[in-house]
């Protein structure tokens, strides 16, 4: 057991134990009236809501009604629900993706050694009592048709954990979790080369790489040429934050930089698996871009024992051919932004969500989730949801809006955006938008190019509670 896990367990239980009684339940008279009224109306919820039962406390009905009244305004180009169709060839959207994939499992109880069923919790009506744990496969899919090209099972006793792709749309590096069921990012990962050949008799081929098993991975990035693998490692204990480059062909460590500055890399707001957007290869694989995220304490809030903070975010560039070993000293800031935390959803890049850097090194693309500052959670407000592009050569200039929609929804709804892939010039983005409380499927999944959007088939297992582990 990790000592931090022990500390978390002890601290949370100690805090919980301080609460020894709760006030009596009060069911207001109007609640009974409301309940009766609802029982007389045959409300048929969409299927996806049935299992969920819309449980946001007393405000649920109000919020649900508000959600049903949500309107979407398209501020830039194209209709609200973009037409499904081929993205213009010029956009250069890759034809195939590789994503983590858990095949559907039968709803059968998990047998135990004693012949009974493992204790499981049913969370909603109609949900299976228990689902056996299953390894995570890889799915090779067609970006434009959604067709499954191939499903690749992991080596026995492992699950696939992360995936990153080269520029040719045929070469990928994936890693496996060698200890399924253990929650620790510092469990070792084993790396494999995945070559895909759609239409051939062997559409996917998996080969073990010579890269040694690595632990505490923050991000992985295969170079455009497919020859080098960058791995960002989180510091743990006395270990420093590191950025390493391995040869895909030989598994040899080619370069390594480190720092004690823990603001580097993904600080955890993204929940992707071995994040493949946290480090970017640029300029013909000669440089690596990586983000830093920093909270800077500001003034004390008058009359309160609180401080305001500013969220700072930078993109640093590292010349891999220049050598060196200090990740901070040997890299330079090419772009930065900051915003105060006085507004929950300020304009500009969403802090903590990895910005992406185009392969030509000229553009930083990020997502912006902006809503007015108000304490009224039930109030329907306009959410401005944008994919923004900043020029590295003019970092202080206002960003170019690649696409923006405005969604009228309660402040308590959970509007989310992600950018999942950008082309070499940063002019085309594959992105996704999650809306409201339905985090299971994105409200939009598609390509953005030239101010227009095109829907693409949603890959299986894309759960929008977190950016999907998917690579092109």
């Amino acid at each position: 057991m990790n000592p931090i896990e022990d500390q978390v367990r002890a601290a949370t239980r100690a805090e919980a134990s301080t609460l020894r009684e709760v006030r009596p339940l009060r069911l207001p008279p109007d609640a009974a009236a409301h309940r009766v009224a609802r029982s007389r109306v045959a409300v048929r919820w969409p299927r996806r809501w049935q299992g969920w039962l819309a449980p946001v406390a007393a405000a649920a009905v109000v919020i649900a009604l508000a959600i049903s009244l949500v309107t979407i305004r398209d501020n830039s180009n194209g209709p609200v629900v973009p037409p499904t169709g081929p993205v213009p060839a010029a956009a250069g959207v890759p034809e195939y993706y590789v994503t983590l994939y858990t095949p559907p499992q039968p709803a059968t109880p998990t047998p135990t050694a004693t012949g009974g069923s493992a204790p499981c919790i049913a969370l909603a009506p109609g949900k299976p009592e228990c689902r056996p744990a299953s390894p995570t496969d890889l799915l090779v899919g067609d970006t434009f048709t959604g067709a499954k090209v191939s499903v690749v099972s992991p080596p026995k006793g492992t699950s696939f954990y992360g995936v990153t792709g080269a520029a040719d749309d045929r070469t990928f590096v994936v890693d496996t979790d060698t200890t399924p069921g253990v929650s620790d990012v510092c469990q070792p990962r084993t790396f494999y080369l995945l070559k895909i050949a759609p239409g051939s008799s062997s559409p996917a081929q998996l080969t073990r790489l010579g890269v040694p098993p690595l632990s505490c991975i923050a991000a992985i990035a295969l170079s455009g040429s497919g020859r080098e693998l960058a791995v960002a490692l989180l510091g743990k204990g006395s270990a420093l934050e590191q950025l390493r480059i391995y040869s895909v062909a030989s598994g040899q460590l080619l370069h390594s930089w480190s720092t004690r500055n823990s603001s580097v890399f993904d600080q955890g707001a993204d929940l992707g698996n071995d994040e493949n957007r946290g480090v970017s290869w640029v300029d013909g694989d000669r440089e690596l871009a990586f983000p830093t995220f920093l909270l800077v304490r500001g003034a004390k809030v008058p009359g309160r024992n609180q401080w305001d903070f500013t969220e700072q975010e930078t993109v640093r560039m590292l010349d891999v051919s220049a050598g060196g070993s200090d990740l901070i000293k040997d890299s330079r800031v090419v772009w930065s932004t900051s915003s105060p935390t006085t507004n929950n959803y300020p304009p500009g890049c969403q802090w903590g969500f990895d910005p992406m850097v185009s392969a030509d090194g000229k553009t930083v693309v990020c997502v912006s989730v902006n809503a007015p500052a108000t304490a009224q959670l039930k109030k329907v407000v306009p959410w401005r949801l944008s994919w923004l592009a900043y020029s590295v050569s003019a970092p202080k200039a206002p960003p170019r809006t690649l696409y923006e929609v405005t969604v009228d929804a309660p402040l308590s709804s959970s509007e989310q955006l992600a950018q999942l892939w950008i082309n070499a010039s940063g002019s085309t983005v594959i992105g996704a938008r999650g809306s409201g409380f339905d985090l299971e499927k994105p409200a939009f999944f598609g390509a953005i190019s030239g101010g227009a959007v095109r829907s693409l088939p949603v890959p299986p297992d894309v759960i929008f509670g977190a950016p999907p582990a998917i690579a092109w």
């Binding site: 601290a11 100690a14 935390t341």
Partner: protein, 196 residues
Amino acid sequence: MDHLKTDDADVGGWTAERHVTALYQAHALSLARLALVMLGDRSAAEDVVQDAFLGLYCRWDRLADPAVAPSYLRTSVLNGCRTALRARPRHGVLSDVHEAALAGSSPSSSLSLESAEATVVHGEEHRAVLAAIRRLPARQREALVLRYYLDLTEEQTAEAMRVSRGTVKSATSRAIAAVGRMLGAPDSRTRSGEGS
């Protein structure tokens, strides 16, 4: 004799009231503790729990299987906690006690989020850990609480959070790593600058 007619809904109302009250007696304290761990605020935690039971009461007729009510309530409480957390400024605005805990010093006399009893019970180490947990992004915090406070499995946590098992694993791992940094490395505390 219309006034003597039995209204099915009224009967249902009585049943709902009885069941929900029984559920409250059985589960309210544990749910309030869960909310307290999530929010760090006793009053807000109790509000969230009250709202969850009120929501259940309003929907009792549509609950296909009363046996799932406890897990439904837990999901309601978690959703309520998420909503409450969204109402707070993100990340940055911390109370004295949190800042003091992060800095390893004694907090001031103004403990806005903890009772005097809690202060005694927790001790410095627990306060620091709790402060670190509360600086995590909401979903990481949730994963951590479900995994280590409630001792749910990854599968159960994924069901409760409505995310994939891989996401739970990733969120939990990153949360543990982040808490470790906040407790250990000096530069993982509130930072005032970075290297050039």
